[in-house]
């Protein structure tokens, strides 16, 4: 008995000692988690990974982003009251700061900006250990990311006017500085593009072999031109667009209809394009943008079981009428999907409907009547026959063109007509290149008004380009259409309520002693 007692006690002591020693060090372990510190930063072959991550982030758009950015123009409407009544109200210039879309678009832009800044830090980690060649490659990657970041700031400033410029991933200090005016933001973009242009490849995006479709020097020139245009510094526009034109690398894709379909992906016209794909396989991995909001709600697709859309983005009667009056052909056919009721309505309004206008698309999809709208956007439409077999989502796998050469040519032309010195071709030639593809007769001695009309016809439905032109030029009467009244107060969206609650947006003297700052500074601990 005594022996067993002793053994037992000794065992217990041993057991306890083991229990104590075996565990305390395990408290620091986090299984199933990959930390940033776990990456091998000396391996330069991995340096491209954060860049790919950055492209992934920017391509992961919410469905509401292009809708909200684009809907306010006179080229496009919301597609009737439905389950997003406040989206329709936005189209009617009745803004509600509580509407979730404003907050969402604000948030996803800033979230992407933070992600860009984080990716830059990651690349800088690699550059610390890189040799000269790899260091230069790192600089190029960072330059690419800065172009994306510029585009994000550009969208924010075009919609909210005064916004924060954020260049770090711990933004507390930059928030303390308060918002920058729209002009400051545009100047920031222009300056930053000047910095990155020399670091970027001298090529078309589709010429890049490391990352086909990736950003090049000319994408940066385009961003610079866009920001100069917002600043109404038309010489700056002409210089930047002139550099693109003079490179001789870019040309218009000959088939305007297919430019927005799969054959037109990564064409020589493309300067910035978000890429989506299912890699031609019936199932498995796919990376899509959700195009359904753009699509018609009811159709008979040429390919069975291709899904219809939501009808949230309807070309306006004003735009269609404008196109019919101009005798536009391929651009009207490409930009608009017609329902039978839509055609009937146009007839009722007194338009003579050209023969090519039909509810059957050139790719044999039949658009039927549906409740929300009479028309749908043709530029966001992928013919059902171009879908990969077994893939039914509306527009599945279609790329999203952001900046294309036609816009560059027309920006150049406008700048020149406004008195900028032509750094490349004459304004007439730039406009006629665009018109030629659209089977429109050449013009000579183009005026600014003609260029703006050309932009309307060429770039309708694309990213709100029309709307931002109109507010840049204070053409409020153009936006006062179909019963709307547009005033200067309607140019910008109100800050989302959730942001007003959280950010020093309206404070004049920034109080640095806030809980937010505490939170943010503890984050850096």
């Amino acid at each position: 008995m005594k022996t067993s007692k002793n053994i037992f006690i000794r065992l217990s002591v041993l057991v306890l000692a083991l229990a104590v020693s075996s565990c305390s060090d395990k408290l620091d372990t986090q299984e199933g988690q990959l930390n940033t510190g776990d990456i091998d930063y000396t391996d330069a072959s991995q340096m491209i990974d954060p860049l790919i991550g950055a492209y992934y982030e920017i391509s992961s758009l919410g469905w509401e982003e292009p809708l909200l950015l684009g809907v306010r123009g006179d080229d496009v409407n919301s597609g009737g009251l439905g389950d997003q009544p406040l989206y329709t109200e936005t189209d009617l210039f009745n803004y509600n700061k509580d509407f979730w879309m404003y907050n969402q678009v604000w948030n996803s832009h800033y979230n992407d900006i933070i992600n860009m800044n984080t990716a830059i830090l990651q690349i800088e980690n690699f550059m610390e250990y890189a040799n000269e060649t790899n260091f230069a490659r790192g600089e190029q990657y960072i330059a690419e990311i800065k172009v994306i970041r510029a585009w994000l700031h550009f969208n924010l400033a075009r919609n909210w006017e005064d916004i924060f410029i954020i260049t770090s991933n711990q933004p507390e200090a930059e928030l303390e500085q308060g918002v920058a005016t729209k002009d400051e933001v545009m100047q920031f973009i222009s300056n930053e593009m000047d910095e990155v242009i020399p670091l970027l490849p001298d090529a078309r995006p589709n010429q890049r072999t490391d990352l086909p479709g990736g950003i090049t020097r000319y994408t940066a020139y385009a961003m610079k031109a866009l920001s100069e245009q917002e600043l109404q510094n038309y010489q700056g526009v002409a210089d930047a667009t002139g550099a693109i034109i003079n490179s001789g690398l870019f040309s218009l894709y000959p088939d305007f209809y297919q430019l927005f379909k799969k054959p037109g992906e990564l064409s020589n016209e493309s300067l910035l394009e978000f890429q989506y794909s299912d890699y031609g396989s019936e199932s498995g991995e796919a990376f899509y943008h959700l195009y359904a909001p753009f699509g018609p709600q009811n159709w008979d697709p040429a390919r069975d079981n291709a899904e219809a859309g939501w009808g949230f983005y309807e070309p306006s009667n004003k735009f269609i009428g404008f196109m019919i009056d101009r005798n536009e052909t391929v651009r009207l056919e490409t930009s608009v999907l017609f329902t039978p009721e839509g055609i009937a309505e146009l007839q009722a309004e007194g338009y003579t409907i050209p023969a090519f206008v039909s509810n059957v698309t050139p790719s044999d999809d039949v658009i039927n009547n549906y409740v929300r709208a009479n028309f749908a956007s043709g530029k966001h439409y992928l013919p059902s026959v171009q879908l990969t077999d077994g893939r039914n989502n509306y527009g599945a796998g279609k790329n999203f063109i952001v900046i294309r050469y036609a816009e560059i040519l027309l920006m150049y032309a406008e700048a020149v007509t406004r008195g900028a010195s032509a750094t490349a071709i004459p304004a007439d030639e730039a406009v006629n290149l665009v018109r030629e593809r659209a089977d429109m007769p050449a013009l000579s001695g183009v005026t600014t008004e003609q260029v703006l009309d050309e932009k309307f016809a060429e770039l309708a439905m694309e990213w709100g380009i029309r709307y931002y032109d109109m507010i840049r030029l204070d053409k409020y009467q153009e936006l006062s259409y179909d019963g709307r009244t547009f005033t200067a107060a309607d140019e910008y969206l109100p800050y989302p309520q959730a942001q007003v609650d959280a950010l020093p947006l309206e404070a004049t003297n920034v109080d640095t002693n806030t809980a937010l700052n505490d939170v943010l500074s503890t984050l850096n601990r």
Partner: protein, 1001 residues
Amino acid sequence: MKIRLLLTFVALLFCGIGFAQQPKTISGTIVGADGMPLPGAEVKVIGKNIFDITDFDGNFVLEGVVEGDTFRVTFLGFKPQELPVVGANDYQITLEEDAAALDEVVVVGYGTQRKADLTGSIVTIESEEIEKTPTSNVMQSLQGKVAGVQITSVGSPGNSPNVRVRGLGTYTSGTNVLYVVDGALYDNIDFLSTKDIKSINVLKDASSSAIYGVRAANGVIIVETKSGRINQKPQFEYDGYTGVQRAQDVVKMANAEQFTTMVYESGSQADIQFVLNAMQRFGRSRVNPNVPDVNTDWYDEILREGLIQSHSIGVSGGGDNVTYSVGANYFAQEGILDMKNEYERFNIRSKMDVDITDRFKTSVNMVFSNATQFQPDNAAWFNAYFAVPILPVIDPLNTAASPVRYANAQLLGYRNTQNPLPITKFNEDRLKIRKLLATMDFQYEIIEDKLDIKTTYSHNFSALEERYVNLPYTLGNNYEVQSSIKRENNSFSNQYWDNVLTYKDQIGDHRFTAMVGTSFRDEAVNELEVTGERIRGIGLESSWYLDFADPESFNNNVKEIGKRYYGMSYFGRVSYSFMDRYLLYGTFRADGSSKFTLDPWGYFPSVGLGWVISEENFMDNVGVIDFLKLRAAWGKLGNDNVAASAGSNTIDVVSAPFGDNPRTGIVSTSVFSNNTWEVIEELNFGVDLEVLENRLSLTADYYIRDTENAILPVYIPIVDQSIERNSGVIRNQGLEFSGNYFGNIGEDFEFSIGANFTTLKNEATQIEDDRGYIDSGSAEFRQRTIEGGPLFGFYGYERVGVYQNQAQIDADPIAVSNNLVPGDLIYRDQNNDGMITDEDRVVLGSFLPDFTYGGNIAMNYKALDFSMSFYGQAGNKILNRRRGEIIFTNDTNMDADLANNRWHGEGTSNIYPSAAGMRKAWNQRLSDFWVEDGEFFRIQTIQLGYTVEQEDLPWMRVYVTAERPFSFFDYNGFTPEVPDGVDRQTYPVPSIYTVGINVKF
């Protein structure tokens, strides 16, 4: 007493050497205070393996005792006695009755404690109470029985009810109570059958549960399974019941005529067109030619009656050194949703305690549970609500639909397919749940009856295999679903190793227990999820394997998550009682958890004080009061039932196309969680009173329970992330009361009555977020936690009424500026700025009831027994999210109450808008139009039993049970029991009617 102990001790010391004493035989009789013999009492010589059980006349015989031995007499319900063997060989022993079983011990965590010594708030539920409820889940049977414990039933077979102890003290999703089953820790006890349970102890306050430290924040429920007794004759038991379940209080939907009327009234041309389309397709009703000739009651189409049955067998008993209890249970329950929706569980358990030597004990405990659950697709509930009644189930004209020509509402012009039948017929979700609990412990008495050490190892292993099959089908209008199989294999392997050293002693009037221990935890999870599409041979269940999927479909469809958490704890407890009057209790626990990167260590003390006034001398003359105790306790607990902190920025691997080729990259976070414990600090005051010869007992507790360092998803603007951070204080406070009375009228009629109630105030007292609030829910159906408000409060506009006429509109500038018309809702302008904006939103209520109550009545007359219990709650709100669906697709059907009571002319309604109004953004804001009262009263269980006790037959009881037969509530839904208060597709809780039999021999 002292001398006896000393003697024992001396005897013990020399037991190795031994005295040269002559063994002898003694005998005796054991009687109660009334002189009646007590059969079945245990008489045991302390420290020796000599014992006997008294016979029918209370007689016992002990052989081989020597002078100086001490023997102990124990009998349930009586105070034990110890007597020395001195001189006499014949003993007449009178046992004193244990008044109200005050010596009853309660399991308190790593040990037991006398119930009379408790200073905290602990409630014990015995097996009889649990067994009355026909349910797969033990916790369901506690509903309404324990003040301070809110249990929300679930309707879906095999799912566990939601259990909350003393409100909601954490914002994070981990609100699970900690279950301690025979010493092993669980989040969930769905593997146990109600017949496995001996007792359940609910440790409600922090001082009682602090010994479990970091796991105890949401309350601790200690479950003891059945065990045998030393020298117990084998007792066999069978218990079985079978019955049927029915949906109760089915929501009445608008029929075709009501629906069509609403459509015409709405003035929506599109919707009128859809009705015309339906008439074109399906014909016109002969009764009313303006209504399509279809009138589908969708709830009727998807509901069915479900069977329920349970069979348990068990045997328990014991020999000289070993006790055992083994059992098996089969439980099967069908769901009331008409699809493959059922639950079947088979479990076996065994428990064995072995006295290896006098001082060295071991016990082994094993439970294995094997369950298969076919889970419902709850979208069917939602679709059945909004599917229009003018759509038939089958549409023979829908030739594009295959394999069944189900009707598709899109063909009438509606936005969605609506028909819920394809969801129920072309879907199967099978979950196989296998759980194994194995526990082994060794206990050694270092000093007999005083100091012992116990080491316990337990492992609980669960394997959850889910197979989700989508059968391919088409519904016309390009609606196609492709075949797919999703497999989710999750395994959980949790190991615990506890070592406890306990010292117990009594010196004069001082009685105390001291305990120290360590506990090591290792909890590992592995989750593997694979989805395959385009399955060859999908028509046959035998080919429902991923092997037959298109291999390409696995690309990017494979996910694995692995987690492993460690914990190390040191703890101790002291309980002290002086003259059974003054009680002191204290615990301390130091806990380390790998989930917390900021500081893994937390320290959790608690103290409790008690004063048993009825033991005081001055109370001797107060005859009415049998027992009176005042209690006060304070304690701290931690909560690690939260997501582990990352402690560092982390990397995700992503893939994006470049020129139609996938490229792999990484994205990194820029903010990360870095947290420490949520700390619950609780004060509890209680009083226990027993009067009328212990027939009436009353207990009341008041508590204030603060969660400090509450982990909230703090919003980081610009970064646009919600990061879980220690950043708030949550307070729950309330009063709990329970009373029980038992009595009898004559010999044959006994009865008992019990009642309890709980109040609860739940509030976020502090939020460190720059916005001052934490949002949840969707933007349209916002829930917001603000300082001074409840957690997850519904946040919207207060409805004042409905504009009745144009004059009222004209008189109200708000109505004029918003172009409102009669039939639109009037909202309160909270800030009186003459506008209705975001700032006019207020907290409309919380899903947590502020008052819950329950009670029971039981009666016995001869062989008949009857019992009934009831349960109710008040003060909670439910978001009727089904009705809210109209804001997304406003062409859908609605319930008859809304359709009939809509505003349709002056004076017709002051709560619901008009048919046209329901389609307007103004009325679609979250307001108390959508947020309804959730209060209800329910007859919980009615049971009638008849017991047969005859010589030639085994003991037998037959019974009939009605579970939840009647509920009374105003809420416009199937059931007012909605766990999180958002009723979108809540599975209705059915009524159950069973007959059963219980046999023992």
